[in-house]
Amino acid sequence: MDKPLDLLQSRLDRLMRTAVSLGSLSAYGMLLGIQQISKNRLEIQQGPVYPALYRLDHRGRITSEWDESENNRTAKYYRLTAAGMRRLQTEVEKWNPIADVIAGIPGTTPEEV
């Protein structure tokens, strides 16, 4: 049984997938990545990242493996699966038009309506 995802949760999922699509990353690395991409504009709570990753893992969108980190620590690295990649594609296609619309709204003047 799938829980209905609320908006925040689905957005976090998408963020994680986008982050993972950039290559094999640890969860911590992913958080840093998202901060970099968003130019520190997105503040993500750290705790909820893990349930999101476990959820994606459970659904087969990402896989994980254990590897040595730069500091010679063992860390868990996540990678997008083929299914995850497809899913990301379709969501980006759905998201972009909406993003365009939303991006356009603040600049709209009453005369244009």
Binding site: S26, P51, W66, R73
Partner: protein
């Protein structure tokens, strides 16, 4: 899925889970450490960095829990977790859980067992057509207040002149000796009028019952067998119908077999033969011989029929004053024949276990309400920490379920044990009723199911109550200091009401058992008039066709006793027609010649026929004159011995020795000389008064059945085999039965009262224990609630006495109210015990006072321990909790 693969997948799931846990730990540790390192690089100290990293991460455990949820740890896994949790909870509160489970089990088990027995004995439908319209009809001697069988002439009047019965039927007992085929055996027979079976509406298992024409002389040599007898003697052979058996040497054709649940008038009846109407007794109003049943006309009530027959009896009393004055009529439901005096005992017992159930429920409610208070805080904390409500609910439900499984499990075991033990305790009283052989036959399954359901529901609901925590109270709840529990005004009020009820019911049970204990002590203090120890008894009947007269019966007795007397371990041996405590009875009217009997009634004395050594064997003391001896033979002058009571009645101012009385011998009044006076005997048991008795010598008077009493120096039961051999060496076809020690008979005769007393004592004990537990926990609870306040008081200089008063005062008041209610209830309810009581009235003051004293002592003890704790509250510690 095979068991093996199931097991394997379960093991794998377990392994996977523990791997997941360790990986999760490692991953989170990595996260925190990386984060901390980045912070160190940013200029923080290592320690400070770690602290910041943990803080910014947020709830680690919560993250883990959510991860577990995301992995959808299988339902089984989480159930296992909840189960382990509830086991932990139970282990932590093992005292509490055990107390609740035992209380539930006691209430449930005892009620199921007692009701099952009560139902089997008193409520189970009888195997008859319209059993509610069937009654037994008795003549009652109003003077002696004693029921008796009906005379043939009176029966005839009822039959021809009543307007309330469909029909009446008559019967009498007939002891037979089965002489063939096979070994001879005495059988308990009953002769039924030809319409008896059809009036009962009892159907045979095999064959048929009597035809109308079989109630006439010459056609009456047919026999119906009981199920037991058919099974034991004929190995359940279905071809038995049509076979011929010999009863007392006469040939009878087997025509039917009754089903196992049929046994009239008692379960011990082996065979039934037809009873032709005894025409020779048609005018007889002296001999009470008929056991009569009747079927009420449809729509006629018992009281109505009673009234009509009563007026008939009054008419007869006017018409035949010689015989019928002082004789009334009693109708009784037919079921009374089988249940007798066990009925009030069972109802009292049922009421007692019901009271105990109420007390038990009150206690469980009490305990759970107290715990709900402490758990409310736990729930609030867990909700605040992010536990899901559903999960919480499930955990409490599982706790309740664990409780339910333990409680009902133990309860079922107790009930199962009870339905086996209870019938044994009342064995002697249940002898008349065909009873189930196995526990499963006794158990009332619907009631068991119901009590299991109720018990399970109770524990589930009460177990889950804390989960219904009101979230709006959370902050309030969390603010309360950790020691204190939440005082809920409504819960406390309920607990107070429960205490009052418990006290009242406990006192009631205590009074009841006290009355029975006093009854029992009174009985124990009495003497039967003979010594029961080291005395072996047996009975046999001497078939009239082989032992037709006194010289035959006399010589048989003489030879048997001579052989028994020389057995090693035998001190003396004697015979009597009606063995004391055996339920056997024989009465004869006596008159003193020349003394006018102005009441028109003769004295009816118990008629005993004894061998000379009977008194010595029984150790019945001789008061005057002499015992019987060798002089009393056939043809010698008729003599008799009377007991003290009869001597005092007949010759209050004269020496009885040498006096003469008229007593019928074979229906002819015989002038008999009194040669001795012996001590009185309580023939019917300790609770009975000694009857007036007249003894006649067995070698002078004919009687067709006898009991033997053998005084031994050894354990009497060990001589049973030797006695049997001695009898059979005189007549190999003469069976004997009921070889039992007199002690066993004596025990049986008080078994009803003793068993009732023991059970009621047990129930009262449990009730008092539970009630004192209730008091104890209520006071403990108040002490804990008010620790702070008590601390303040002590700090301000309150004396111990004041503290005690303030802690105990209210509960003591509640206890007193409860006892007052219990006292009023006892005064009104113990009358239902009357038929079991002896020598004490139902409102015996001593018993009431004693019960109150016990109750108060126990209550004071239960209150003292927690109250003492209150006086020892250290004000420093108490005040620190803020």
């Amino acid at each position: 899925m095979t068991l093996w693969s199931r097991l394997r997948s379960w093991v794998q799931a377990m392994l996977r889970r523990s791997r997941m846990e360790s990986e999760m730990d490692a991953e989170l540790r990595f996260h925190i450490e990386e984060f901390a390192e980045d912070l160190v690089r940013g200029g923080l100290s290592r320690q400070e960095a770690m602290r910041r990293a943990r803080m910014e991460f947020g709830g680690i455990e919560r993250a883990k829990e959510e991860c577990r949820n995301e992995r959808r740890v299988s339902l089984v896994d989480s159930l296992m977790q909840d189960m382990r949790f509830s086991v932990r909870q139970i282990r932590r509160n093992s005292g509490f859980t055990l107390a609740v489970a035992i209380t539930l089990a006691l209430g449930m088990g005892a009620n199921t067992a007692v009701f099952s027995v009560l139902h089997t004995v008193l409520l189970r439908p009888l195997p008859y057509r319209d059993p509610n319209r069937l009654v037994t009809v008795w003549q009652e001697n109003v003077q002696r207040q004693q029921l008796d069988k009906a005379t043939v002439a009176d029966f005839n009047d009822w039959k021809t002149r009543n307007r309330v019965f469909d029909d009446l039927a008559f019967s009498w007992d007939a002891a037979y000796t089965l002489t063939g085929p096979g070994d001879s055996q005495s059988v308990m027979g009953y002769q039924f009028s030809a319409n008896f079976f059809s009036l009962l509406g009892a159907r045979p298992l095999l064959g048929r019952t009597f035809l109308p024409e079989e109630g006439t002389q010459g056609r009456d040599h047919v026999v119906v067998l009981s199920y037991q007898f058919w099974r034991n003697r004929f190995a359940s052979d279905e071809d038995v119908i049509g076979r011929t058996i010999q009863l007392d040497g006469d040939h009878y054709i087997v025509i039917g077999v009754m089903p196992s649940d049929f046994g009239h008038p008692s379960a011990g009846t082996d065979i039934w033969t037809p009873l032709p109407f005894p025409v020779e007794l048609l005018e007889n109003r002296r001999l009470h011989v008929f056991q009569v049943i009747a079927k009420l006309r449809s729509g006629v009530r018992l009281a109505q029929a009673q009234q009509e027959l009563e007026s008939l009896a009054q008419e007869n009393a006017r018409r035949y004053p010689q015989t019928n004055q002082h004789w009334g009529i009693q109708l009784k439901p037919i079921r009374d024949t089988y249940t007798g005096n066990v009925r009030p005992a069972l109802w009292v017992l049922q009421a007692a276990v019901l009271f105990m159930l109420i007390i038990a429920c009150a206690n469980v409610g009490n305990m759970l309400l107290a715990r709900a208070g402490t758990q409310e805080r736990e729930v609030a904390v867990r909700l605040a920490l992010g536990a899901s409500r559903g999960r919480l609910f499930r955990q409490f439900l599982i706790q309740g379920l664990t409780l339910a499984v333990m409680g009902t499990g133990a309860g079922v075991l107790l009930a199962w044990w009870g339905v086996q033990v209870l019938p044994l305790m009342f064995k002697a009283q249940l002898a008349n009723l065909p009873l189930p052989a196995r526990a499963s036959g006794w158990m009332n399954w619907p009631v068991l199911l119901l009590t299991v359901a109720i018990t399970a529901m109770t524990s589930l609901i009460f177990g889950a109550i804390p989960a219904f925590h009101n979230p709006s109270r959370s902050s309030e709840t969390l603010n309360i200091s950790s020691r204190a529990t939440i005082e809920r005004k409504s819960a406390l009020r309920i607990r107070r009401v429960l205490i009052v009820g418990q006290m009242a019911l406990s006192l009631l049970l205590l009074v009841g058992s006290g009355l029975l204990i006093r009854t029992f002590l009174r009985l124990q203090a009495r003497s039967l008039g003979f010594e029961t120890d080291h005395l072996l008894t047996c009975v046999f009947s001497l078939p009239p066709n082989r032992y037709p007269n006194v010289s035959k019966t006399g010589s048989f007795l003489e030879q048997v006793l001579a052989r028994i007397r020389v057995l090693p371990g035998v001190e003396s041996a004697g015979g009597i027609n009606t063995l004391p405590l055996s339920g056997m009875d024989a009465r004869r009217p006596i008159t003193v010649p020349g003394v006018l009997d102005d009441s028109g009634q003769q004295n009816v004395a118990q008629f005993r026929v004894v061998t000379p050594d009977y008194f010595r064997a029984m150790r019945i003391p001789l008061r005057e004159g002499r015992f019987f001896d060798e002089r009393e033979r056939v043809g010698s002058p008729p003599v008799a011995i009377v007991n003290q009571k009869l001597a005092g009645l007949l010759w209050p101012h004269l020496n009885p020795i040498g006096q003469h009385i008229l007593v019928p011998d074979a229906a002819i009044p015989l002038l008999t000389e009194i040669i001795g006076v012996v001590g009185d005997v309580r023939h019917a048991g300790l609770a009975s008064e000694p009857p007036i008795e007249i003894y006649r010598p067995a070698y002078q008077t004919y009687w067709p059945f006898f009991g033997l009493v053998i005084r031994t120096s050894l354990d009497p039961e060990r001589l049973a085999g030797a006695i049997r051999q001695a009898v059979q060496s005189v007549d190999k076809d003469q069976p004997i039965s009921s070889l039992r020690s007199m002690d066993a008979l004596a025990t049986d005769s008080i078994a009803l009262r003793r068993s009732s007393m023991l059970l009621l004592m047990l129930l009262a004990g449990v009730a008092v224990l539970l009630a004192s537990l209730g008091i104890y926990s209520l006071i403990s609870y108040t002490v804990i609630l008010r620790t702070h306040e008590i601390g303040v008081r002590i700090a301000l200089g309150a004396r111990h006495r004041d503290i005690l008063k303030s802690v105990v005062g209210q509960t003591a008041f509640l206890a007193l109210i409860g006892m007052a209610i219990g006292l009023i209830a006892a005064l009104n309810l113990t009358q239902f015990l009357s038929s079991l009581l002896f020598g004490v009235t139902a409102t015996d003051l001593k018993t009431l006072l004693l019960a109150m004293t016990v109750m108060m002592a126990v209550t004071a003890g239960a209150a003292y321990m927690p109250a003492r704790r209150a006086t020892r509250v250290d004000p420093m510690i108490a005040l620190r909790y803020e």
